[in-house]
Symmetry: D2
Subunit: 103 residues, 4 copies
Amino acid sequence: MALLEISIVPIGTDSPSIGDYVAEVVKVCDQHGLKYNLTDMGTIIEGDADTIFSAAKMLHELPFNRGISRVLTHLTIDDRRDKAIHLEDEVKAVQDRLTQKAA
Amino acid sequence: MALLEISIVPIGTDSPSIGDYVAEVVKVCDQHGLKYNLTDMGTIIEGDADTIFSAAKMLHELPFNRGISRVLTHLTIDDRRDKAIHLEDEVKAVQDRLTQKAA
Amino acid sequence: MALLEISIVPIGTDSPSIGDYVAEVVKVCDQHGLKYNLTDMGTIIEGDADTIFSAAKMLHELPFNRGISRVLTHLTIDDRRDKAIHLEDEVKAVQDRLTQKAA
Amino acid sequence: MALLEISIVPIGTDSPSIGDYVAEVVKVCDQHGLKYNLTDMGTIIEGDADTIFSAAKMLHELPFNRGISRVLTHLTIDDRRDKAIHLEDEVKAVQDRLTQKAA
């Protein structure tokens, strides 16, 4: 299982705000039943390699459908095959370590 | 104001787990009074350009202090000078859009 | 047309050197007739969205085939639909601007 | 020694072309005597941690000086303390491996 962080940036908008484009990414994730967390810097999606690469390809197209002619998409994939990674696992693992050290 | 997402990856560890290194990043952020959110894919820090670049430089060194000889650090900076960006702002702005559209 | 920069990092390799894994990426690009440029920080592949996403998915698997259990893959896609982007285009466009300014 | 790949993206430019901004990054690197390679996806700068972090901070400001109000800057740092990394080293190391394997 893997986690994919995706950030899709439309280039050439006449405003510095890209919230509408991010909202559409979230909406399409919901429509496709993807498991995700929205952060201030991207959307983190959970799934196996097939799921995350097809999600990335679908989501990358969204700004073009709204007339944007250039898109910069950043993808970071953390893929473990020794154990499953689910949303919140990494955060919990780090918090557990910090709690142990503080004890 | 800006948001910095930082991911610091030690290369050459003999284990696929890097949770200890991430826990140390979080601990040092706390020690230095930095405002941050931990996600499954990185740590998002809030601050002006001076704050985030000095934080990045300090945090990048941490694995070397533990004997690691190679580190890959990824930094994404979202910096707006037309309005302040604080942690959770982008998430809230997107959620507000989705709520409006659903109404 | 788009350019994809891909960097595939095996985690838990017990050695700071990952050159063997990068060499395999290049070899597989050659075997599949992909157009690419190797840089010090990644491999830049040229193609339409179908080509680059299928290349990314294929290349991401390579370290797992060699027994690695965790892989961090970074992908940056610069995709323009108003004009074709080919390898070396961006570099040439910047150099032309610098030459004009110097003239 | 380390290699820094930097990509500075102005948001809200009203045009999909960002070549002028990249040309300015290159010009300022020259003015400051930085060792760099320009690629289609970013500028790779060589130096120790002090050099690359101060270069990143200086270059990140450039679009703001031209009236841009939002900038997304991506930095990837490959930092080795077991041996020096210079521009072209990684490319040469991979090419040497491929030549050996072909022999």
